[in-house]
Symmetry: C2
Subunit: 512 residues, 2 copies
């Protein structure tokens, strides 16, 4: 056994923050395969075992996220040195650090400190793989948005409007010649491996170091990073690696990213479009994640046509692409009942004007779908696909937003934050309205959120408890106005402006 | 047997026109029950037996619609005179007289002379029972509209926004005191019979003479009269008569109205809301119509929640109220396959702003539903429910239209009239468009009508036959513009303005 390797680590670290221990080791051979690093972290309340990973240039990293405000000690075991030990103090979380997002009340999500998390996601599949200027613009756009989750890919993307080479590759090797590609012929190269030369046992640390920075930048913005591990928009062969290559990659990802509190694992985007994978492959990948992620980050898998079986125990929440051209959020109740897990509609068509039906609805229609999902106790996701001369489409590249929906999502989030307890559940009121009430059993009768969608009533009549008093607000979800309509008891009528996209919010202010 | 009664009838009559023979007879007792009049009409090609009816004041009428341009002779048999005979000449139909509407090509409708009938219906439930000025305004509105069918009731209507007494009653007697009714309490009186005194064996001829004038006025406008025989919005007991009273009424209706070529029989509106009737009652009523209508006018029955079994042999076409809050025209394909009959969506929500979800959608949404139904090979119906200080709502009273949808229905009808052959059928193109092609087998490949609904593509690509030439039109169904986008063959791209409610019409102008 060689001598003790020098290690570097912080003496103090923040609760729920990524805490990194750096050590030096061999750079010869293939360290990804031939060397191993693992660590055990201990405090009074917990003992956690994690894997380290090779970061290139003879550097090995061990990353850990402490759950308790205590002194932790650790022991690192490597294939190239004697055991290494150390200790550090965990300090209170800084403002805005609420810990990981976890499932709460069956159908909802909350941060580890109990703060409700009302998911308002967006999708920019390969924003990390654009040039620095576009990345900076994406982060600036996100900083000024209501989004608190973003879906994106670890691997580069091969698809219409996105045929350029990425800024880096996850593996050592050389890609096929992409100069032959056009928006007409690119389908022919989808899923093909010819012309690529990769070593799937040698990761390119630069690719992942850059991804680290992206995940960290999102963390600073308070955004969850819904990492898509596999996807079918591929001309490099990353969607058709062998089982052991997939698992090597997945374990590298968990070793590298599980210590970031804002990471979610999305096993795939449109898993059902990867011809090289079957259900056993996905289950093996899920198993590897469960085994190697000691923090149990949120896990799901996203469909194109066919839902994955979201009732599988490893699936923490549904990550749904709507299956129907007309209904999306309207079906949340069915999925809540079917799966008894949080229902996240990550893809319900994007605001835009491209040729495809999944990317050309209006801001009104996208916002309506968000509200339909919301008042049924689910969560929706945003995307944007406007054609521009610069060829930068938010859904793929990030950049800036042009649509009308995003500002209205902040209003929606503001309303969601007024929910007593955690989360909304559908409440069967009249056939021609959708009504949400608190999921929390302790808040029954305290709050009602009615939504009328494309309907335009001039008024609505209510019959609530006669011995309680209710403050009634008329919400224009499109104009983003919140108007108090008065204090009522028992039977009362609320006037509305006969416009679409109206909601009525009723808060009980006194009970008998 | 008494002496021959004097009879009056025209020496010449127009093909497919209501031809009336008037005779005098006893006015004593109850002529509706105690007297009978029937007639046999004969020409070279047909022999038709019809019933006459009592019209009050000792007058009996026999009505007949000749199908052939020939000399017809007739023999009338009565309970009060010796047989009566006569003959008349049938002249060619005047312009605009195309005969009755019948089912054509399984899923469509055509006039008796072969002219396609593209149904664009509206609903004004009790327009005939309003004051003269409102009736005149309704007819004027219809005359300037694209509507070619209107649904309305023979009996008066008791429902919110329509609690006033009708101008007349179908039976002799006295109604309940309606001064007690308010828009809050009217539900309590629905279906009740207390306070009413009617003789269900004595029709009020004045009520029906007025209805004759209304049906005739519609006929002059080229409009089909979709007569609703029963409905549940009732405080007079007309919805809960006994079986023999129902059948007496139905036979009076067929004797009186079957000779009008523009009459359709709608057994009921929202049949499933009449608690006093069961399926056996509806089947008995249908049977009576089939037996007593020698011309076989179109027959259907309209649902509230539950569809009637439209596969029943007496049902000529589906008369559907949509069952889903979100989907209506989108389901036409299913119903076409289920029933293999014309699918007429008589109720898919109304443009308006009342409190009820069935009466407060936008003109855009109503038009979208029309087009969704149309391009799937079905037909939709219009209604309008705007609140006005005068309390006149088109859906109930007629009057004038305020909405944005009606002018756009003329554009839709103009496009429908361009269909080669008779009618459209759905054609499975891409998942994110709806495409219609001619139902006519002889017109395959000659015509394509694509519709994009709420989607807003900037362009769409097509791949048609390379050796044919196609004229392509871009239709803005909302702005009512029809722009020729050029002549194409094989693969081509059509640019669109990235707006909702667009359609692309492709007409083959030459084939190899």
């Amino acid at each position: 056994m060689p001598a003790v390797s020098p290690i570097t680590y912080p003496a103090r670290t923040e609760r729920w923050s990524m805490t990194e221990i750096r050590l030096e080791g061999p750079a010869y051979g293939n360290p990804f395969l031939e060397q191993s690093v693992s660590a055990v972290f201990r405090c009074k309340q917990q003992q956690v075992e994690v894997s380290g990973f090779y970061d290139g240039d003879g550097i090995y990293l061990v990353r850990f996220m402490p759950a308790f405000q205590e002194t932790y000690s650790f022991t690192i075991t490597t294939s190239f040195s004697a055991p290494l030990e150390g200790a550090f103090l965990v300090t209170p979380p800084a403002e805005g650090n609420h810990g990981m997002v976890r499932v709460a009340h069956t159908w909802h999500l909350a941060y580890e400190d109990g703060t409700p998390y009302y998911s308002v996601g967006t999708t920019c599949y390969v924003w990390p793989w654009q040039d620095d200027a576009t990345i900076a613009q994406t982060l600036d756009t996100l900083a000024h948005s209501a989004f608190n989750k973003i879906r994106f890919c670890v691997f580069p993307k091969h698809y219409d409007y996105n045929l350029r080479e990425p800024r880096s590759y996850p593996y050592e090797g050389t890609p096929m010649d992409s100069s032959v590609l056009t928006s007409e012929n690119f389908h022919r190269y989808t899923g093909k491996t010819e012309g690529n030369q990769w070593d799937f046992t040698r990761f390119q640390p630069a690719h992942f170091r850059h991804l680290d920075h992206c995940v960290e930048a999102l963390l600073r913005l308070g955004m969850e990073a819904d990492l898509i591990l596999f996807h079918p928009y591929d001309r490099w062969g990353f969607s058709s690696m062998r089982r052991e290559e997939d698992l090597l990659y997945v374990r590298y990802m968990t070793a590298r990213y599980a210590a970031y509190r804002n990471v979610w694992w999305s096993l795939a985007n449109e898993y059902d479009l990867l011809p090289a994978k079957n259900l056993a492959d996905w289950e093996a990948i899920a198993d590897a994640i469960c085994q190697s992620d000691p923090y149990r980050h949120l896990r799901s898998i996203h469909n194109c046509v066919h839902f994955y079986d979201y009732s599988r125990p490893w699936v923490t929440h549904c990550s749904i692409q709507r299956q129907d051209l007309y209904k999306s959020g309207e079906l949340v109740e069915t999925w809540r009942e079917n799966y008894r897990k949080p229902v996240v509609l990550d893809e319900i068509c994007y605001e835009g004007d491209i040729q495809h039906g999944w990317g050309n609805i209006s801001g009104q229609e996208l916002l309506r779908r968000f509200w339909e999902a919301t008042v049924r106790g689910g969560y929706a996701g945003h995307g944007e696909t406007f054609l521009h001369h610069d060829g930068v489409l938010w859904w793929s590249h990030g950049g800036r937003l042009y649509g009308e929906c995003p500002p209205r999502l902040r209003f929606l989030h503001t309303i969601l934050e007024q929910t007593p307890g955690i989360g909304l559940r559908p409440y069967h009121a009249s056939w021609d309205e959708v009504c949400a009430v608190p999921e929390d059993l302790t808040c029954q009768g305290a709050y009602f959120l009615y939504y009328y969608g494309f309907m335009r009533p001039s008024f609505r009549d209510f019959a609530l408890d006669e011995s309680s008093r209710y403050e009634v607000h008329v919400l224009d979800t499109w104009e983003m106005t919140d108007t108090c309509a008065g204090i009522y008891s028992g039977k009362f009528r609320v006037k509305l402006p006969a416009k679409p996209y109206m909601a009525i919010q009723i808060k009980r202010i006194s009970a008998p």
